[in-house]
Subunit: 275 residues, 2 copies
C-alpha cells in the first residue's frame, strides 16, 4: 500500500531545508509541505514558553493540511516543544531532530565521549544529554551552546579567520577532553561542516543531525507502510511556506537546500495562510 | 509652562535603552514609556515592508498612551520607517536616531570623511549617507553593514579575540581610507565602544548615535516648551514594555541601561497590552 499524502516539515526558519534536501535524496517520490517561521527566526535565544507557543502555531498550520507525518526539522523546537507537539498531533507520527542524531552518535563513538553543539535553548534543555544517556548510561556527554555559528552561516563566512577562531573557541575544550564524536545539533550548521572538521581534525567524527533525521523519516514511513509511490509527486508538487518573504535569505537558500527552491509561498502562523 | 505627559520610546528590542539612559541623565524629571519588540528582534535583516509594518504597530501602541513626543531609538526603524511613522503621528513630534548622529559627525569631522556602521537594513537604506550629504554635500561617507556586532554584544564578548578580529575585519578599510569620524549607527553597539576605539585608534572619533539622539530630544522639548517639571515623575513613574519577557536578555539590560530596569511589563504590538 502507498500513501500519497504529504510529509509536513516544521522549522523556525530555513535551516530545516537541510533535512528536506536529505529526504528528497532518500525518497524522491515524497511530496512535502514545509513551514518555516522566518519572521520570528531564530528561536534559539527565546524563553521556552515562547518556543512552545510558536511551535504549536506552526504545527497547527501543518496538521490542517492532511499530512501523514510531521518532521520537526529544528533542534531547538525538538528539544523544547516535541512533547507538546506530540500531544497535539494525536494519530499523526512526529519525528524530532534530537533522537536520530543521539542514536547515531552512540553507535559511532568508540570512547563513549560525545560532544553536542546547538543553540542556547537546545543546550539549556539538556535534551541531547538525556536522549544519549537513555540509550547508553555510561556515555559521557559534553554540551556547549554555540550561538555565534548562526550569524556566521547567515553571513556565509565559511572560509574566514573569524569563523576558524570562533569554532576553535567553542571546541578546544572538547578536543582536549578527547571527545571522538560531535553532534551538529542545529540544522543551520551543516554549511559549516568543512570548517568544523578542519578544526577538530579527523579523529573526531561529525554527526549531521539533519541527515539522520531524514533517515529516521524513511525508517518510520517504511515501517508504517506510509511511503508514496517512487514516481509520486516529489519536489515538483511540494510547497514551501515562510512567515516572512525570505528576501535577505534568498541567497542563502541554496546553502541549505543545494538548489533553487520551488513553490515558495507566504503564510502567517497565527492567522492561517496569507496567500 | 511644563508638560507632564510621557515621552514615548520605540525600539526593536533592548538597545534603545542606551538612548533612555542618556535621556534620564539629561532630563531626570521626564516620564518615559518604552516599547521594545523583543519578540521579533532583530529587525536589521528584515525586508523593508516588514520593518515598516512592525514599526507602525509599535508606534500605534505608544500613540495610544498620550505621549508628547516619540523617540525612535532604533537606527533600523529610523532609517527605514521614520517617514511612515511621521505620517501616522500627525501632531506629535517624532525624533529618529539617524539625523542627530549625522549632524554630530558633520560638526566633528576635520577631513570630511565619515564612516557609518549599522545593520544590513540601515546601511542598505542609505539613510545616513543621504542625511550627511544633505548637510554637507562635500563630505565623503563610507558605510559598512556590521551584522556580527549584535551577537557579540548579546553574548557580552567585549574583551575577546573574536571581537577584536571582527571589528578589525569590518573597519580596516575605513582606517586605510582616512576616515576620522565613525558613527555607531545602531543603539545596540555602545557596549562595544571601548573595543572599537582600541581598534581604530584615537585619531578616529566615535559618534554614539544614542547620546546625540537624547540631546535632540532635549533640544526639541525645550524649543517646543514641552519639558516636565525637573522634579517630575522621572524614572520612578516610567514603564518599560517588551513583546517578549526578556528572560535571556535579563543579564544584558544593565549593559544598555546601566542599572536595574524598573517596571517591566509584557505587551503585544499586534493586539494591545497583555497586562
Amino acid at each position: 500500500m502507498s500513501d500519497p499524502r504529504p510529509i509536513g516539515v516544521l522549522d523556525s526558519g530555513t535551516g530545516g531545508l537541510t533535512v528536506v534536501r536529505e529526504i528528497v535524496r532518500l525518497m524522491p517520490g515524497e511530496r512535502l509541505i514545509y513551514a518555516g517561521d522566518t519572521a520570528r527566526f531564530p528561536y534559539g535565544n527565546r524563553p521556552e514558553e515562547t518556543i512552545r507557543s510558536f511551535a504549536l502555531q506552526g504545527a497547527e498550520t501543518l496538521f490542517g493540511r492532511d499530512i501523514k507525518l510531521l518532521v520537526v526539522a529544528c533542534n531547538t523546537i525538538s528539544a523544547v516543544a516535541l512533547e507538546a507537539i506530540e500531544r497535539y498531533a494525536r494519530d499523526v507520527p512526529v519525528i524530532g531532530a534530537v533522537l536520530p542524531g543521539a542514536r547515531a552518535a552512540v553507535l559511532r563513538t568508540a570512547d563513549r565521549k560525545i560532544g553536542v553543539i546547538g543553540t542556547h535553548a537546545t543546550i539549556r534543555s539538556g535534551a541531547y544529554k538525556k536522549a544519549i544517556e537513555r540509550i547508553d548510561s555510561a556515555a559521557k556527554v559534553y554540551e556547549t551552546a554555540t550561538p555565534f555559528l548562526i550569524p556566521l552561516v547567515e553571513e556565509m563566512m565559511f572560509d574566514h579567520d573569524i569563523t576558524r577562531l570562533t569554532v576553535q573557541f567553542y571546541l578546544y575544550e572538547m578536543i582536549d577532553l578527547g571527545v571522538d564524536c560531535l553532534i551538529l545539533g542545529c540544522t543551520h550548521y551543516p554549511p559549516l561542516l568543512e570548517v568544523v572538521q578542519g578544526t577538530v581534525g579527523t579523529r573526531m567524527q561529525i554527526i549531521d543531525s539533519a541527515l539522520w533525521t531524514a533517515k529516521e523519516v524513511q525508517d518510520i514511513l517504511t515501517a508504517l507502510d506510509l511511503c508514496s509511490e517512487p514516481e509520486g509527486g516529489g519536489l515538483g508538487q511540494s510547497a514551501f511556506f515562510f512567515t516572512e518573504t525570505p528576501l535577505h535569505t534568498a541567497g542563502q537558500l541554496p546553502l541549505f537546500f543545494g538548489e533553487a527552491l520551488p513553490h515558495q509561498k507566504s503564510i502567517s502562523f497565527a492567522g492561517g495562510a496569507k496567500q
